[in-house]
Symmetry: D2
Subunit: 294 residues, 4 copies
């Protein structure tokens, strides 16, 4: 397929590389052109504009937030205006339910196909072909996107014919990860104040009931107090909890744990910690308990 790719952060670059490895022709665009070079070296074509990257069979976007997606898709020179009728937009960014609805409506009016396809996995997982894709969209759009999904991930879960459902799954997933961070932060503050070594504690947890990388990774970061460099920066975590709460409000679902997470992120960011990894909320329970960082 002829595929445009817009948004070459660490995740996007890895995903575009997978598309190239699978034999697709890939045209890349990034606001910061330097990031395109590495992909060009691997066989991609550099586009001079969003429009230029939107003239193939499909265009894929992997951007930081709602504002970036609005700009790239809906602005005058954006994807919506350039994408041919019948062509496909695969949006993998973590965005709000409300924006997903607007994109769905806009692409529909333009007779373009649209799939929301957020992903679960870190950049290393993408490279190893271990990404998971959660997709939603009309059957024809999902069908058109299948070669893309096969190229970038190990498995795709189609959850609905309504694109926003996939975005909701992604937001809920990030919410669940954040609850893991907070719960570990609380449990570790408790046992540390009871005289137990935090690293030893994480070892016990992750050898037994919580024998899964997620707990090992975040437990280790909290035990070590190592929140730099940020794998996923705190403001992004805050954004995802905000979007989760907005979706929950629109759907009429109280989420008490999300409220706690919201307050943790506000506290963290109020103290000038926007450069830290989002797992840094895991140290706040210890601070409330007047524990010094180990």
């Amino acid at each position: 397929m002829n595929i445009g790719f817009i948004g070459l952060g660490r995740m996007g670059a890895a995903m575009a590389t997978r598309l190239l490895m699978a034999g697709h022709r890939v045209t890349v665009f990034n606001r910061t052109p330097a990031k395109a070079s590495a992909l060009v070296a691997k066989g991609a074509t550099a586009a001079a504009s969003i429009a230029e990257a939107s003239r193939g069979d499909a265009v894929m976007t992997m951007l930081a937030n709602d504002e970036a997606v609005e700009e790239v898709v809906l602005s005058k020179d954006g994807i919506l205006a350039a994408l041919p009728s019948g062509a496909l937009h695969v949006s993998s960014s973590t965005i709000s339910i409300a924006l997903s609805e607007r994109l769905t409506a806009a692409h529909s009016r333009a007779a373009q196909l649209f799939v929301a396809a957020p992903v679960f996995g870190r950049p290393e997982a993408v490279q190893a072909g271990q990404l998971f894709v959660v997709a939603a969209g009309e059957e024809s759009a999902i069908k058109a996107a299948t070669p893309i999904f096969e190229a970038i991930g190990q498995k795709t879960f189609t959850v609905s014919e309504t694109p926003k459902a996939a975005n909701l799954v992604k937001l809920s997933g990030n919410f669940l990860i954040a609850t893991v961070i907070e719960s570990l932060g609380e449990a570790m503050a408790l046992v540390r104040k009871g005289g137990i070594d935090a690293t030893r504690y994480v070892e016990i947890l992750t050898s037994t009931l919580f024998n899964v990388p997620l707990y090992r990774t975040y437990g280790g970061l909290i035990a070590d107090g190592k929140f730099e460099p940020a794998g996923f920066a705190a403001p992004l975590g805050q954004k995802d909890i905000r979007l989760t709460l907005a979706a929950a409000e629109a759907l009429g679902v109280p989420l008490p744990m999300a409220n706690i997470l919201r307050d943790r992120f506000l506290t963290l960011l109020a103290h000038g910690c926007e450069h830290l990894d989002w797992s840094a909320i895991g140290q706040l329970a210890a601070k409330d308990a007047a524990l010094a960082q180990e």
Copy 2:
């Protein structure tokens, strides 16, 4: 070793069986004598009293709560009075930090050895030799208990020379499991109201980031609304959160997520659900959102 075993619920019976299988001589006692018969059939000796089960090298207790442990250990005809000087008490019950301190002091005054050794695992795990033991106590006591630990579990984590530290790890572990239940309950209420099938959702989660039995088990129970028969009854869950909060208060550690769990259990029990599994708190987010059980 000559080992007494008191408390033959499902967990205790499985643990006593493992001791027999490892070649120890086991004398069992249970308030309800019928429960001892199955063990006698496997080679155990039935004791007519707590004291009679407390005259060997060691006595092990696996009881439901503080009240039962107080009664069995500290009453006039209890373990403390019968256990020989130098002999060992291994307490595997999930009890309060405060009671663990009292037991430690009492056994010390009586020149008896004492180890707190709560376990992680369900009865089936015990039978399969896959139990995990978290132990704390003085070095000599831990050493004396080692053959017991080797018989009942696959691995023992020694965390401290102070017994109550092991109880704290156990309470914190149950707190973490309860946070998993609640977080799944909230996430599933959210996605269900967004039109996503709960079972499909759990499949996605547990194929990806949460690929661990704990999430699979509880996610499945919540998706199915299947809270009977209770594997671990709601009042026991409430008790463990109460003990966690009590320990946290004594240590000066605020635990906002434990507060949410506390309220969930109170709501559940106020509505007459003491016969349900503790995972039934995972349906309360859906009720607040006015979702019918699937």
Copy 3:
């Protein structure tokens, strides 16, 4: 002064009446023209359009929410386009901080004066001349608005030269009222389950420490379970808590009590109670405790 008045709900009508009583010439406009008739009978002039009501010395708005204010002020035929340079807009609606900022900037660009002047008090208080006004705006704008404030209320508190500060005070005030409702709901659930009569309890509270109409009114409504007709409907309460949380997020202030209120409103509205008074959140603690309505 020649004053336009837009938004003739119960509060707006009472405020416009006060302006007439003070001798001002008042031109009224309301989307539902019927509501203007009563004011015309008292001496007001009916305007056929927003623009027609915006050509005097000042125009005052008292509308339900951000959407209405945006429409009335910022749309093509709105106040901004019609108000003469140097004339004044007094906005008394409870709106978001973000919209208040936009209005401030827009009026400034148009060389118009702008004051945010939300009020505290119910319609009856307005009639009795007992309204309180919280005002913010540039000195010249406040000065121009002073005759209006003197006409509608008993006292005006000027809090800042930045209009949005007054909106923040209003939001925080409604947040405080909602905390009173929730705290009474919790306390009354507790004592009722302890066998104490709720009405008697409110009498004790409001004869002693809480001897103030606010507690008497809301305590009485909760004790009686009387949430209809709505004096201030639940969706408006939810809106104000949402705006409070949005302001708090923008300013970086965690508000744990506002989170509880947010969830209470979501629960209430999820159960189809949008027709009830916002004090109906005060019955949810009793429902969680499985208490029947008295």
Copy 4:
């Protein structure tokens, strides 16, 4: 009446003084005898022991917590042992529901009358005859206590024939006061970060909807950051929230706002602030928001 009085803290001393002023013969006892001197100077008799103060028509206790009440009433040489059959114990201390039940049962077995009669008001209010009494007990006991109530307060509210009901009202009242402190702390953090002067803000609140000494007092303390000397020390506040939560758990009532208060007190005390007034929890919202004390 011949009345013994035990517990001469600031409140107790003021109450004993009122009894003397009303013409009763008062025998005082205090663990720290020096505190009795001032009362003796006003006409009281000093007792050398609890028993000596318990031989009249009635004995009144005003003590700090459950432990003190248990010691004074239930120990070998306590009130229970010394009080004549048919005589009366009026307990005004803020104690747990559980202890109130124990006292009720013990006095009943001893054929003594018992009334729980906690009070609302500060020492200055007692002196001015403005104390409020909330009383519960059997009709005969209430009748016997009436002259005491008339001497110490301006009004008595009888709420139940079961003494613990009065203790529950008292606990719930202190819970409500603490919610006022916390809600003011949150609202003030919000408006301060929005550029509004805290003292000015309290003035607005207490001139309008919250025109009551409680809000004025605590609003002022928080605005000034003046938490010393403690009128009611933080550990006493924590105790009352703990007892409220314990009562709520026993009755099956979730209290989300009490959970927030619990965590606030834990945070405050973990940071070594046990010497501060309980209203110091009102500064924690500002700390979370990274605001410096004004």
